[in-house]
């Protein structure tokens, strides 16, 4: 059971890393996520059913997400549409696109197909139980992605991303087109989100076009929870706390789902709880900022 929380937390951490990239680094609140997450899931499910090997399926899901991000960034850059609206437009269009990808279905089970997880399980057969094998697999995947992201932010290009959310004027004065950076950033972010959706579909055993409802908010909640866990401005710590935040978030949701009935809570209340969690985080960080000002 406890492995389940960790695995789900790790899968969602990939999505949360994407949300962290747009919301925190780019300062581009991107709502495409609600569409690109199920997009990753449906691309994965469809390609598995078509007999594509799971690794290629993951790559395709990632690319699908990247292109969804490109669309949002292009709408924002070219038509000067505000971030939020650009994201909502893409997200809405993706709903139809995702149904199309599933050949006019709303969901697709993955029960008797070969997934990345069945491969991992069979590779570890006799050595590790499937639960532990999944856990170790996802720890490695998330660690790998986290390190790749850390490394990216140390590169010349990554550093400019760091400056963009902070001081766009400085980026322009440096001869870099902010629109290009947004395209790359929102693309990469949604690639991660779609990858997360692809893993989620394989873990749950089905893909559903409604998988993404409110996912961006839970990603944001994870990012904010993480910010309470570690105080730092080093990039490796920033990405680490996103991962920890996602696991913590899943744990809270788990508690709400299984023990909530003691206080008359139903699973339908979880979205409300998520929202309240974000509001409390916002209020707490505001309070801290005010306190810091008072001390200075």
């Amino acid at each position: 059971m406890i492995e389940g929380i960790f695995v789900e937390g790790l899968i969602y951490a990939i999505m949360a890393l994407g949300v962290f990239f747009t919301f925190r680094i780019l300062d581009f609140p991107d709502l495409t996520v609600d569409g690109s997450f199920p997009m990753g899931a449906v691309i994965m499910a469809t390609s598995l059913h078509a007999g594509v090997n799971p690794l290629s399926g993951l790559v395709m899901a990632f690319c699908g997400g990247v292109s969804a991000g490109f669309v949002t960034a292009a709408i924002h850059n070219k038509l000067k549409v505000p971030h939020l609206l650009a994201g909502i437009l893409t997200m809405t269009m993706l709903y139809s696109v995702n149904i199309r990808i599933l050949s006019n279905r709303a969901n697709l089970p993955l029960l008797r197909v070969d997934t990345i997880l069945t491969r991992v399980h069979s590779a570890c057969e006799g050595i590790l139980s499937p639960e532990i094998a999944s856990l170790i697999f996802f720890i490695l995947v998330v660690l790998g992605l986290k390190l790749a992201l850390d490394l990216f932010f140390l590169t010349d290009l990554g550093l400019v991303f760091g400056a963009l959310g902070n001081n766009e004027q400085m980026v322009r004065v440096q001869g870099v087109n902010p629109a290009t950076l947004k395209l790359i950033g929102v693309g990469l972010s949604n690639g991660l989100v779609a990858l997360s959706g692809a893993f989620a579909a394989q873990y749950q055993g089905f893909a559903d076009v409604n998988l993404g409802q409110g996912i961006v908010v839970s990603g944001l909640a994870s990012v904010m929870l993480g910010e309470f866990l570690i105080k730092s401005n080093r990039i490796w710590a920033l990405t680490l706390r996103v991962v920890l935040g996602a696991i913590l978030f899943k744990a809270i949701m788990y508690l709400g789902r299984y023990y909530g009935y003691y206080i008359n809570m139903t699973p339908n209340d979880l979205k409300l709880i998520t929202g309240v969690l974000i509001i409390i985080s916002l209020a707490a960080s505001n309070y801290k900022r005010l306190r810091a000002k008072g001390d200075a």
Binding site: L151, F152, L154, T155, D156, L157, G158, L159, V160, G162, A163, N166, N167, Q169, M170, V171, R172, V173, Q174, G175, V176, N177, P178, T180, N233
Partner: protein, 264 residues
């Protein structure tokens, strides 16, 4: 190096808020020119810089840079040749990044690929450069820029701007937000780097003494026009009193000619 020809800039044309800020202005800066620009508030000095750097586009006229027409070229592209420092010390650096990260960002111009250049040799080079500021910042290369004072930040911005190798330097009252001793220090550094690299420079200042002591040419702007333009020997012999007299004279002349126009 840079030429503006008959530039006019009107904000909000065709609306009640219509405002012509630059009027038929022409200006040519040759390579190595150091031009100081003075003028009252709202004279259009910052707008002139915005036009040169491409942050706003002119309503009429043409801008050329190194013999290339750049009138409507986007800011980021023109920035390949321009180093610009603003009055606000916060504007030139990314505050939540370290000194060395900031320097790495400004170490070159234009788009870059995801490769890691900030290695030990580069760190040493940056530390050595920062040492020339003589502020002890070389021991704080991993500190966030937000922990620096305004004067330190502006001096660092100057260093970073020069590091990126611009051909033209635009300084918009870059010492105005600093206390007198910091301002003097940044001014000194400015003089040093301009001389070292013989940068073509345009510098807006509200300090008459700076305007006179600095550079080989002085321009006074008023109501979107250049009303005084002195260079060479004339500039060297310029005194504060003469400058003030010039300002009064030109304005009076303009006023009189308006009057003449009106009365006929």
């Amino acid at each position: 190096m840079i030429a503006l020809e008959c530039i006019t800039k009107t904000f909000n044309p065709g609306t009640p808020g219509e405002k012509t800020v630059i009027r038929n202005l022409s200006l040519t800066a040759d390579p190595g020119d150091v031009i100081t620009i003075i003028g009252s508030n709202g004279a259009g000095k910052t707008t002139l810089f915005n036009l040169i750097s491409g942050a706003v586009f002119p309503s009429a006229g043409e801008i050329r840079m190194k013999d290339r027409k750049v009138t409507f070229e986007p800011e980021y592209r023109r920035a390949m040749h321009i180093g610009r420092i603003f009055q606000d010390p916060l504007a030139g650096t990314a505050s939540n990044m370290t000194i060395e990260d900031n320097m790495m960002i400004t170490a070159k111009k234009g788009f870059r690929w995801p490769k890691i250049s900030l290695n030990r040799a580069m760190r040493q080079k940056f530390a050595d450069l920062v040492k020339t500021l003589d502020m002890g910042l070389e021991t704080r290369m991993k500190a966030n820029v937000s922990s620096l004072s305004g004067g330190q930040r502006q001096a660092l911005t100057l260093l970073m701007t020069v590091l990126s190798g611009p051909d033209i330097l635009l300084l918009d009252e870059h010492t105005a937000a600093l206390d007198p001793s910091n301002a003097a220090m940044v001014m000194e550094q400015t003089q040093r780097v301009i001389q070292e690299r013989s940068l073509t420079t345009l510098m807006v200042t509200h300090n008459m003494n700076h305007a006179i002591a600095f550079g080989n040419r002085l321009i006074m702007m008023d109501a979107g026009e250049i009303i005084v333009d002195v260079k060479g020997v004339e500039k060297q012999d310029l005194t504060r009193e003469a400058l003030i007299q010039m300002f009064a004279d030109t304005r009076k002349k303009a006023f009189e000619s308006d009057e003449v126009l009106l009365s006929t």
